[in-house]
């Protein structure tokens, strides 16, 4: 460390430049992580907060559009209820809708239909639950759009009305729109386009999107067996995220960008230390002639890289978090989560070290003999 620290200080301009590149990459990485987390929240926070462990959809439904295409009946619920390891199963309806409040605010909604009083029905912050037909519990984020408690929503196209009786705790969104929980019968009427006062065919009340299944604590459900028995196709809660509109495309794009960032940072750090090491060849030859062991020279150089990476990543993450804090709460879906940032920082440092190590290994090929004579 004797030489490593002194070289860092002596060539601080050069190292600062390199550090700045790594720090910028770290900033970009934090912002991407926040954006990706924000998009995930926007896409599936409504699903994430459901107590279900899996959903059973219509058999052979297309997996990336399961929520919009699937229709199942009450028989599937009964079948799932009796599967081993299942604590309970209940109908679940999911549909996207456009609504207007009596105050004239347009709002896009994901209507979640649940049986009143079932384990799937959430409780609002003011204590109300999904009970009466024609009422809705909205995600707290709908308040930002201008919806207030007691507002009446008119849902297109049939003009069904929903009274806002409560707001849920925190963000519940699906496919980038706010979630509204309604009683299953109301959901079925809205979905079927039944106009208020119109006679309803009994068939309307027999269909819903999926069976929400909750596994007993500690039980490992055999989804395939359940599907065979019930004639359904199951997705775990996590797999069902992929059925949220745009979710897979968004996350895979961001993951790709993040992957590129890691590769770029490893290459940049590797290239930098390659140049530094080549530049130090004569010096390394002298050190080896003087009796410095290869191991100690490698340790010294790697310690130098690690210090640089730690400092630069730390600064970059700090700056990224500050920038991110400014973005949080704007219309941009942005959410900072410590865990993915910690993982990403560790990956950045680890890959940087791989790059540096590859470069620094050149030290082992320096012949101490070149320290003698006028060799350069």
């Amino acid at each position: 460390m004797f030489l490593a620290l002194r070289e860092l200080r002596f060539a601080r301009g050069r190292f600062a430049l390199m550090g700045a590149v790594v720090a910028l990459i770290a900033i970009l990485m934090v912002l991407l992580s926040g954006l990706s987390e924000g998009l995930v929240n926007d896409g599936v926070s409504g699903l994430k907060k459901m107590p279900a462990t899996s959903f059973a959809f219509q058999e052979n439904v297309s997996k990336d559009a399961a929520f919009s295409r699937s229709l199942v009946g009450a028989g599937a619920v009964e079948s799932w209820k009796h599967q081993p390891g299942v604590a309970d199963a209940t109908p679940f309806g999911n549909a996207l809708a456009n609504a207007t409040t009596n105050g004239g605010v347009d709002i896009d909604l994901a209507l979640f239909g649940v049986e009143p009083g079932s384990w799937l029905a959430p409780r609002a912050t003011n204590g109300s639950s999904v009970v009466d037909e024609g009422t809705v519990l909205l995600s707290s984020t709908a308040k930002k759009a201008g919806v207030e408690l007691g507002d009446v929503l008119t849902v297109a196209p049939a003009g069904n009305t929903l009274k806002v009786v409560g707001f849920l705790d925190g963000q519940h969104t699906f496919g980038h729109v706010d979630v509204g929980y309604v009683p299953l019968r109301t959901w079925q009427e809205v979905r079927a386009g039944v106009r208020p006062g119109e006679a309803v065919q009994s068939r309307v009340y027999e269909e819903f999107t999926a069976v929400a299944v909750r596994a007993a604590a500690g039980a490992d459900l055999d989804l395939a067996a359940g599907d065979t028995a019930a004639g359904t196709t199951s997705l775990t809660l996590k797999q069902s995220f992929g059925a949220s509109p745009g979710f897979t495309a968004e996350t895979s794009t961001l993951n790709l960008i993040q992957g590129f960032l890691y590769a770029i940072s490893a290459l940049v750090v590797g290239a930098f230390f390659t140049v530094i090491t080549i530049h130090r060849r004569q010096e390394v030859a002298v050190l080896r002639a003087m009796g410095a062991s290869t191991g100690s020279l490698l340790r010294d150089s790697l310690a130098q890289s690690l210090i640089l990476l730690l400092l630069a990543t730390g600064l970059g993450v700090g700056a990224g978090v500050l920038l991110g804090a400014a973005l949080t709460g704007t219309s941009m879906p942005f959410h900072l989560d410590p865990q993915p940032i910690a993982v990403a920082s560790a990956a950045l440092i680890a890959l940087g070290m791989v790059g540096a190590a590859t470069a620094v290994l050149r030290i082992t090929r320096v012949d101490p003999l070149t320290a003698l004579g006028g060799n350069r």
């Binding site: 004797f2 030489l3 002194r6 070289e7 200080r9 002596f10 060539a11 004569q282 010096e283 002298v286 050190l287 080896r288 002639a289 003087m290 009796g291 410095a292 062991s293 290869t294 100690s296 101490p368 003999l369 320290a371 003698l372 004579g373 006028g374």
Partner: protein
């Protein structure tokens, strides 16, 4: 190896170093025998390519000879693996390089401290007082680019001596210096050699500094012979 006093310093016995393989063999060293006692400054002169650098490389445990025996500080080098050779260089051999070859990032004092950071060496000398001894204490905080050629070489000598080596190998120490600095530097080397009882081999082109040396050898085509002053143009 058993009797430390009689075998310390440098002993070369019938050392031959052949470069290349097969058809175009170059005999860099040809059956060289040389003993340098502790406290003795031996100069090796000779034209470029005569094998002077090869002599330093073999004596300094940087190159293994093709045949013959090399003993440094009472240790036969042939018995040592790479790791032990590195340790031997660290503990018992000091190098003074052409144009000093100091580390750009380090101050004069840190240059001298550097060899002691590689590992614990036996009986190191105090870097600050050593720097004072070579007349550089007033420049202790200067980096190489702030030092003159002569000053750099003084620091280089202090760096080579800080581990209290038994063998000091000096490669063209005056190549980049004017006449007066050259005299000072070689005078310093002679003084350190005599007071510290180190065996010193100095390779040089500079005939003007030879009067500081206890013995002068001439190298020609890999062979070593006693230098005959009358044969050269020097005084």
């Amino acid at each position: 190896m058993t009797d430390q006093t009689s075998t310390s310093g440098l002993i070369l016995e019938d050392v031959t170093l052949v470069h290349g393989d097969g058809e175009e063999d170059v005999r860099a060293l040809d059956a060289i025998s040389l003993t340098v006692e502790p406290g003795e400054l031996v100069a090796v002169v000779g034209p470029s390519g005569s094998g002077k650098s090869s002599l330093l490389a073999v004596a300094g445990a940087l190159t293994a000879p093709t045949s013959g025996r090399v003993s440094v500080a009472g240790v036969d080098l042939a018995a040592l693996d790479r790791r032990r050779l590195t340790r031997l260089r660290r503990d018992h051999i000091g190098f003074v390089f052409q144009s000093a070859n100091l580390i750009p990032a380090l101050t004069a004092l840190d240059q001298v401290r550097l060899p002691l950071t590689f590992a614990d060496t036996g009986r190191p000398r105090d870097p600050a007082s050593l720097l004072d001894e070579v007349g550089m204490s007033h420049r202790a905080n200067k980096r190489p680019h702030q030092l003159s050629g002569g000053e750099r070489q003084r620091v280089g000598i202090a760096r080579a001596l800080v581990t209290n080596p038994q063998l000091l190998l000096v490669d063209e120490p005056t190549a980049a210096l004017d006449r007066q600095r050259s005299q000072e530097i070689v005078g310093l080397l002679a003084r350190e050699t005599h007071t510290r009882g180190v065996a010193t081999v100095m390779v040089t082109h500079d005939h003007a500094v030879l009067h500081h040396c206890d013995r002068v050898l001439e190298m020609t085509d890999g062979r070593l012979a006693d230098h005959t002053p009358t044969a050269g143009v020097d005084s």
